[in-house]
Amino acid sequence: MMHSQTANNFDKNARAAIADPVLQGALQNLATTFGTRRQAAITTVPDWEGSREAARSIKAEVLQNLDKYLEAFADNAERNGAKIHWAHDAKEACSIVSGLVKERGAEMVVKSKSMLTEEIHLNATLEAEGIDSVETDLGEWIIQLAGETPSHIVVPAIHKTKTQIAELFAEKVGTDRRADVDELTATARRILRQKFAEAAVGISGVNFGIAETGSILILENEGNIRLTTSLPKTHIAVMGIEKLLPRFTDLAVFLELLPRSGTGQRLTAYQSIITGTKRTQNDEGPEELHIVLVDNGRSKMLAHPVTRQSLACIRCGACLNACPVYRSVGGHAYGAVYPGPIGAVITPQLEGLAKAKQLPYASSLCGACREVCPVKIDIPELLLHLRAEITEGAANGVATKEKVARRRGESLAFRLYSSMWKTPARYGFFQTIARTAQRLVARDGRVGKVSGFAAAAAPPLGAWTAWRDAPAVAPESFRDLWKRDLKSRGGAQ
């Protein structure tokens, strides 16, 4: 699929995506499969709503006390033998990681899937430093071989068909073009095993960090995260500062919500809980554990109660699967690391409104995302908040002279519009005018795309109908109908 890697091309990307039948098939498969599995999985929880409430409360508690929990996490992890690194932004995080790799003389590292490492573009930095960074999650490896970016938070290669992947493997690693899914999977296992055996450093993300113990937990199905974190001598975990939970036992509710929401599983195949390094020779655990804590725009989101919600996200991907827009256009149309509804709220906050001003509008505000979100993030509220910021021009570079003039024009138009409804007489009068005027543009009870003279005469009508139909004024209003009916029955009042 052709797509443009900027969040300001959503319109164009979306149209291309809708015209791509292969992508449409893949998205249909995603929505049906994950939708059905999720639905089945949540019915096995005795009190799903209660769990969502509890999870949201725990996240609210973490965010309100993020400074304290973050320091507690760092101190406890270091007490157990981990080394904590602090990174203000993407650049700092990347240079910490590449510095650690270079100090260990490693020319190749194995990496497991992590949205944060995508966000900070870690692989590009490592490559620039001459370090070969091998993605080991099957989907991520496919994407890396193809030189693409993930199109989904949980299943990164969802936009590719089996046939396309077989072609890709044939070209890059010399397998049979007719290979089936099992053969393709076995090929990945064979090639990546060699990488695991050679690598001196493994890099992973983190799903949850526990403040009271300094533990990190990572979930997966494939086993590549376990290999990444246990075969190499050095494990580097890159973690967003919002990933914390206060207590070890808080994991229970999140382990109930995350797999069910993400893949519709009751539990993924593996969870690794790592607390520091091995303490005695007979112990097990990494010899060296580095945890890189990354802010990269997160602390800013704490400053407003609406934007703060974004930090509760546990990256399950349920809002993508439920969203009618994502399901129609796929992940690449968003032109950003995080796609879908959650991407439409996170990207403008991470990269700046000016760089992603189309994304808050890439939604019909239907609320399906809010409905499925395991931590009850009110995504529509966030989208509206960001839209308001864009319209108000609060974001740098968004307010231009024309925009300000247009906003004044719009507010005048709405004042006039509301005055038409102020009294029954005015309402009736303007309705009659509209009924006559619409003869020029209405077809079958709908006003389709208005252009030419009519659009020039009424610009808002032109703008509104450019992308959607407006309902026409009925030939006879309910009030007229009522009056006529009463008259025909003898006019009894």
């Binding site: 494939e222 539990l267 809980i273 602390s299 704490l302």
Partner: protein, 213 residues
Amino acid sequence: MTTRALMIESIRSSLAKSVPFEHLYPHLQPSPRGENRSLPAYSQSDLADRFSAELSLVGGEVYRAVSEEQAVEKIKEILANTGVKRIAISDAELLHDFSLGDIEVIAEPSREDLLSVDAGVSTAQLAIAETGTLVLRSSSERHRLVSLVPPVHVCVLKVGDVRPSMDVVLEELSNQIDPAITFITGPSRTSDIELTLAIGVHGPKRLIVVLID
């Protein structure tokens, strides 16, 4: 100022600018989870049955044995049937002097051994009935590689160690947190190609649990 101090300061100054979240969303006041979560009172054998049923659903294999001796016999039989010639075992107490006749048993496997053996044998310290999950603790045995790298993982579990739910297990683990704790629910799997299930992508293709009564 260190980066740590700067980052903590940046969090504090943002927090100070915001109305506390709870004031805007009073319905989200922290509430303890779960009055309606209590499970039916299972007997230990119910728990073992539930564990077996759940693990089978996700592709694990469960065999029952009434004694340690019978468990060893069972393992020997299963492995011999699948043509296994060399296995690696963990340092779990239960596996001391573990011998399987013709099958070569490597007690302290090197990385090279682990990458070349046909199966790995470990024990599990706890299990979760609700999800069919094994819980392996590094303070009890060095389990991480032996349960992961070979194509087959055989795990010995005692019925008395099966707990009803994740909540109970986490509570129990929180008394002493090991450097490495691993939860295992079935063999390694992926759906990354067209959401089609494939087993054994990076971890074991087979997970065999022998449950001792």
